[in-house]
């Protein structure tokens, strides 16, 4: 049977069988095609419980769907309307998994500007809540590990180890984490700038600030990259940080 205005029906909702037998009755022919309804049949409430169980996810209970966050969100405003933090929260609360999955390709696009969190009238830590939602989705295998997480981990590792970040190292670290080949010197295992598989646009991007940089600052940066100083008394702070991270259940080394 033909569908009129077929373009209006999602392809995944069209079932077509050459031969179809239902309860022993052969219904091939006119009834060989079924359009599955758009109806939501149930909620997955465990999804919400898992989000709340994440340390970042607790404030999701406060949301009352005013959409202050989405109206403020640069990703929503300038990139893709499907990136909608307010809507993600609603879907996560009811556990509408298929709807979340439809948006899996855009969900990790947060640029961490934190406008949502600073403006939320109900005190929802929106950016953190979305990370919690993403984490539960990743755990369930319905979204790929988001690429920005690699950088997050690199950043956190750096702070955790030294109590500070090095701009140069962070840049090279980011390049490496993006999957580009970085050539390292054999002794200190530090990246050598501008050789290897780094694309031209990235080299240009990295070279721009170098041209205008004070030579003393450049040397200082290089020195820090090579010999990576630590924040004073960092080991004491590190112990405190570790304790807090363990208490809150975030990953530790």
């Amino acid at each position: 049977m033909a569908i009129h205005e077929r373009s209006l029906v999602d392809p995944e909702r069209v079932l077509r069988k050459d031969r179809l037998v239902i309860d022993g009755v052969d219904v091939s022919g006119d009834w060989n095609l079924i359009i599955l309804p758009r109806v939501v049949n149930d909620y997955d409430l465990e999804f919400y419980d898992e989000v709340i169980a994440q340390p970042e996810g607790k404030t999701i209970v406060n949301c009352y769907q005013c959409s202050y966050c989405t109206a403020s969100c640069p990703v929503h405003n300038y990139w893709d309307e499907r990136y909608n933090p307010r809507h993600f929260i609603y879907l996560a609360r009811l556990g509408l998994i298929d709807e979340l999955q439809k948006r899996a390709d855009v969900m990790w696009r947060c640029v961490s500007c934190h406008k949502c969190t600073h403006r939320c009238p109900k005190g929802v830590l929106v950016e953190e809540v979305l990370k919690a939602i993403l984490r539960v989705m990743a755990k369930r295998g319905i979204i790929e590990e988001y690429p920005s997480k690699k950088f997050d981990k690199f950043f956190l590792d750096s702070v955790y180890e030294y109590g500070r970040i090095e701009d140069g190292e962070l840049l090279f670290g980011w390049i490496e984490k993006q999957g580009y080949q970085v050539v390292k010197d054999p002794i200190l295992k530090k990246p050598i700038p501008f050789i290897g598989g780094v694309p031209e646009w990235l080299k240009e991007l990295a070279a721009k600030p170098l041209k205008n940089m004070n030579i003393g600052f450049l040397i200082l940066n290089a020195k820090h990259m090579l010999f990576h100083p630590r924040t004073k008394n960092w080991n004491k702070f590190k112990q405190v940080l570790r304790k807090v991270m363990e208490e809150e259940g975030v990953y530790t080394h």
């Binding site: 758009r38 109806v39 049949n41 409430l45 209970v61 769907q65 809507h87 879907l91 609360r93 009811l94």
Partner: protein
């Protein structure tokens, strides 16, 4: 000039008016149609009253006691107002027990009645035993002290509140287009009570918008979500069906945020009933010639009066739910105001 006051209705507003009049030393006749004082909250065993979260006994009990013990208030149970002649301040009133009295002022506090949910056939009330009204849920709490599915006596896993049943609905005619005012708040409270006592039960509120106005916002809208985990879903329930395969109900609606139709399994569905003027209110309006809202039939205050207890007829004061949906504390304070207003109308003064 007659120096007594007639109070029509023995609910919260009427009791408050009679109590104030009694304390001022004014001879008062209180007529109540039922055999018991207290009005809807007492007669129908409400469990908890918003917004103070007190029982009807705690709130209305002291008023009943004071009125019954007042030497100035003559309580007549099982009696209605039948006729009224004359103008203020010389009303000649005839009661259903045959008595006739002369009164200087009248306080009308004839109240409301609950919407009859059977009129919304698509919601299955009276067809499926697990579709109940919020009044029946109150009685389940107050009379039996437990939550259960009427069909099998078991604990429900999921409870849905269906907002605005008999409110904001032109399909019922022009009589039910108003907002019931209490429904959103009471549902938030009932949902919280369920979640507090039975944390394993999931509670859903299906709403178009949530009208917990003023200071009710935190206790009856934010707290249910933040503290008790009541879930709010935007979409008006259009139909309730029953699935024999799993013995559960299905609430059919469009989730207007997700913009998809949904038929979600539920074990117990609670219809949040609207308020209508009681039969007594409509009858008294005819007898006394009071202005009524052409749509809802609730009593209307005088057009030129800023205060809403002044009726269009001199010497007649209106208080409580006969003027439209109202909460318990406003009903009591309106009754008190109407009582004081009636006292000054008949010329009572505090002697030094």
């Amino acid at each position: 000039m007659a120096k007594s006051v007639l109070v029509v209705g023995g609910g919260p507003a009427g009791l408050a008016a009679a109590r104030t009049l009694g304390k001022l030393g004014i001879p008062t006749i209180l007529v109540e149609k039922e055999q018991k004082l207290g009005g809807r909250p007492v007669l129908e065993d409400y469990h908890t009253l918003i917004p103070r979260k007190m029982t009807p006994q705690q709130v209305i009990g002291p008023f009943i006691e004071e009125v019954q013990n007042s030497p100035n208030v003559d309580v007549k149970l099982g009696v209605e107002l039948e006729a009224c002649e004359g103008e203020a301040p010389n009303f000649k009133v005839k009661l259903s027990n045959g008595e006739e009295h002369e009164v200087g002022a009248i306080v009308v506090a004839t109240g409301f009645q609950h919407f009859d949910a059977k009129r919304k056939g698509e919601l299955g009330y009276g067809i499926y035993p697990d579709v109940i009204t919020n009044l029946e849920l109150e009685q389940m709490f107050s009379r039996e002290g437990k939550l259960y599915r009427p069909s099998n006596g078991q604990m429900p896993k999921r409870v849905a509140f269906v907002f605005c049943v008999g409110s904001r609905d032109r399909q019922l005619g022009v009589t039910n287009v108003h907002c019931c005012r209490y429904g959103c708040a009471l549902s938030g409270l009932q949902g919280s009570e369920i979640r507090e006592k039975y944390p394993d039960v999931d509670v859903f509120c299906y709403y178009m918008d949530v009208r917990t106005y003023g200071t009710w916002e935190y206790p009856f809208y934010w707290a249910p979500q933040e503290k008790y985990g009541v879930r709010y879903v935007r979409g008006r329930i259009a139909e309730i069906t029953y699935s024999p395969t799993d013995g559960r109900l299905r609430v059919k609606h469009e989730d207007t945020i997700v913009q998809r139709p949904a038929e979600i399994p539920m074990d117990l569905v609670v219809l949040v009933l609207g308020m209508e003027p009681s039969e007594g209110t409509k009858k008294v309006a005819k007898i006394l010639g009071l202005a009524q809202d052409p749509d809802s039939q609730f009593l209307l205050p005088a057009e030129d009066a800023g205060s809403n207890i002044i009726s269009n007829k001199a010497g007649v004061f209106i208080a409580g739910a006969c003027k439209g949906p109202i909460d318990i504390e406003s009903s009591l304070s309106e009754g008190e105001a109407a009582g004081a207003e009636a006292a000054t109308f008949i010329g009572a003064k505090v002697s030094a």
